[in-house]
């Protein structure tokens, strides 16, 4: 076991990944030699995260529950520099995507990833995808336990699980361990919240959430599953879905449709029946294995004498600390978020030089750890407060210190029509124009917490359903058109946004957002956030302001 507070591959993990690289290398050679047709090859490349997108092959690399060490991050930078066009795109599922991959390079890239305990397995296809979690896991002051060991156990359980490799549709699981939901937990196929009951650790299960063309909030189906039975309960949830999920219609194949159509009570009854059966089979992971995995996530060697004092005399630093850092469980430390949302920038994009720098800074200031957030930023989870100023100065020099976490310019945007073959409209230009329209930081802070999320099609990779303000790009007779939505939330007060009315062109939707924020400032009471005012005032007033 090393000094890093994260899981490290054992010989079985490494062998599985190395074997897959060798297998895929052979498959690529056969495809290039004409021994496999594209129809035969496509499912094989997708199992390794290799898509064919608008401009080239796109590789999606899994970052388990968004956790990275500096060696891994440097490898991501190396791949961007050597095999792509000098940048990578951090995604809304805590992964990274490369947009310009050559098929002939893909096996070497996967071998590079395997050398640092990474892969692209199960980043596509109708299987259990990368487990997501709270980006502050293991550091948050408000968590009741560290969710990462459970996310790792779920990762190991779901990797190459033979029963769940051909589900009716893709399947996403999130694990959190605090009442504040920073992982959009209830918008996952299964959301797991670790809780205590009578002093025992266990989990609440929420099943059947999701975004896409039919957004739904996952209902709670169990208020407590003992922690050592968590995997068996998840398996029971999957078994019922795998048995009865709609395989006849792709658009009705997600578990949310099954739960909705059966009803929460009937779905839960079937899960409980399956769970009771499974408990007789003894499929819970061995206690020793749970202990072995948990041990990897021990706290790093915090300085117990670290001071909470902070010199905030530099006003720009003061703003960054106020906006981009949050309380750490360890006195004298803070959690710092590196915003990948500069003015006019592309949300989630980072150059290889920036990727390298973030790796260096994590090594120097954060016990070698980073997290990717579903909001497409990077977190340094364990920064000593006395190091924050030096860290901020280095970030600022590299354009990585926008003090805009959770503000209107910290928008989520999918790649949209600039990169994605599924998209109907571009997303990124909207994010850029909004960052320019609202560039003044004082104005952003006056607006306060405002989650703005942009998708270029109904698949909702940009989480527009969960935006306080959401934008959905559509194709209207061959031109881009944008629908405006209000009232969504991915947090513990999960809600789905509603469409305001007729859509707009690009400039029109940005004007409409300004109208909406102006009304908020006029109507807000005391410390209300935008979403609070919207919920109190209602859609009608906002519609009236937008459309007259």
């Amino acid at each position: 076991m090393g000094d890093i507070s994260m899981y490290q591959y054992d010989k079985y993990d490494q062998q599985m990944v190395d074997t897959r690289v060798a297998e895929f290398r052979d498959q690529v050679e056969r495809r290039l030699a004409g021994e496999l047709t594209e129809d035969q090859f496509k499912p094989l490349r997708l199992m390794n995260g290799l898509y064919l997108q608008l401009h080239a092959y796109m590789l999606r690399v899994a970052i388990p529950y968004g956790t990275l060490n500096s060696k891994q991050m440097r490898m991501l930078g190396h791949i961007a520099r050597k095999y792509d066009r000098d940048y990578g795109h951090f995604t809304t599922r805590q992964n990274i995507q490369y947009n310009w991959i050559k098929l002939e390079d893909a096996p070497d890239i996967l071998a590079n990833l395997a050398s640092v305990e990474m892969h692209a397995i199960q980043t596509s296809g109708n299987c259990i995808r990368n487990i997501s979690s709270d980006q502050y896991a293991g550091a948050a002051a408000d968590e009741i336990a560290d969710p990462r060991p459970w996310a790792e156990i779920l990762r190991q359980w779901s990797s190459f699980h033979p029963e769940f490799s051909y589900l009716p549709r893709k399947f996403k699981i999130a694990v959190i361990a605090s009442d504040e939901d920073r992982a959009a937990m209830r918008l996952h196929d299964i959301g797991i919240q670790l809780v205590h009951k009578d002093g025992e650790l266990g989990a609440k299960f929420f099943v059947g959430g999701g975004m896409g063309r039919t957004p739904m909030i996952a209902p709670e189906i169990r208020d407590f599953v003992p922690a050592d039975e968590l995997i068996s309960y998840a398996e029971a949830c999957l078994r019922v879905y795998n048995r009865y999920g709609r395989r006849d219609n792709k658009y009705k194949a997600r578990i949310k449709i099954l739960v909705h159509e059966l009803g929460k009570e009937e779905y839960t009854r079937q899960v409980e029946e399956e769970f009771a059966h499974m408990k007789t089979l003894g499929l819970n992971p061995p206690v020793e294995e749970l202990a072995r995995i948990t041990e990897y996530f021990a706290d790093p060697a915090f300085d117990k004498d670290a001071s909470d004092d902070l010199d905030l005399s530099d006003p720009d630093f003061n703003l960054w600390v106020d906006q981009n850092t949050v309380a750490h469980k360890q006195p004298g430390y803070a959690i710092a978020t590196i915003s990948l949302k500069p003015k006019s920038g592309i949300p989630g994009d980072a150059s290889s030089a920036q990727i390298d720098l973030m790796a260096d800074l994590a090594e120097q200031y954060s016990f070698d750890e980073m997290r990717v957030t579903h909001s497409q930023n990077i977190v340094l989870p364990h920064v000593k407060k006395s190091d924050l100023y030096a860290l901020w100065q280095k970030l600022d020099e590299a354009g990585l210190a926008p003090a805009n976490l959770d503000l209107i310019t910290d928008s989520i945007a999918c790649p949209g029509l600039d990169y994605c073959s599924l998209a109907n409209a571009r997303s990124i230009p909207l994010a850029q124009k909004i960052s320019e329209r609202f560039a003044d930081l004082g104005r952003q802070r006056e607006l306060g917490e405002l989650k703005l999320k942009i998708s270029g099609c109904i698949n909702a990779c940009g989480h527009h359903h969960a935006g306080h303000i959401g934008i959905l790009g559509v194709d209207r007779k061959g031109t881009e058109n944008y629908q405006l939505l209000l009232g969504g939330s991915a947090a513990e007060d999960t809600s789905l946004a509603k469409i305001t009315g007729p859509g707009f062109d690009e400039d029109g939707v940005i004007d409409a957002i300004e109208t909406v924020t102006d009304l908020y400032l006029k109507e807000r009471q005391e410390d209300e956030r935008f979403i609070d005012t919207y919920r109190r005032v209602g859609m009608a007033a906002f519609k009236e302001a937008i459309y007259g």
Binding site: D418, R426, E480
Partner: protein, 98 residues
């Protein structure tokens, strides 16, 4: 007019059928009319292109312009990264897409 497009098998580059080969530049694309199925089959089999297909386009003074914005983005490159497009020196190139 109808033109053929696909992606280069090895590199994934967007390519356009010139009548005898595949080019990265949509300006080189030729009208294949309605009799393109045989070309698609032959070219896919030869592994010079991956999943080729026909799209609608109009002939302009600058050459063929795909009818749908998605194909125009494919033809130029991402509008948000002019440096990565086929016309990095032309700041107005993105207007052709829109």
């Amino acid at each position: 007019m109808k033109i053929l497009t696909g992606n280069d098998l090895k590199t994934g580059d967007v390519t356009w059928w010139t009548g005898s080969d595949w080019s990265r530049h949509v300006e080189d694309a030729v009208d294949v009319g309605e009799n393109f199925e045989a070309i698609l089959h032959q070219e896919e089999a030869s592994r010079r292109v991956n999943v080729p297909y026909a799209i609608e386009a109009e002939m302009t003074d600058d050459g063929p312009r795909p009818a749908h914005i998605k194909d125009r983005v494919r033809a130029l490159g991402p509008t948000v990264r002019p440096d990565l497009t086929l016309k990095p020196a032309d700041p107005e190139a993105g207007n052709w897409v829109i």
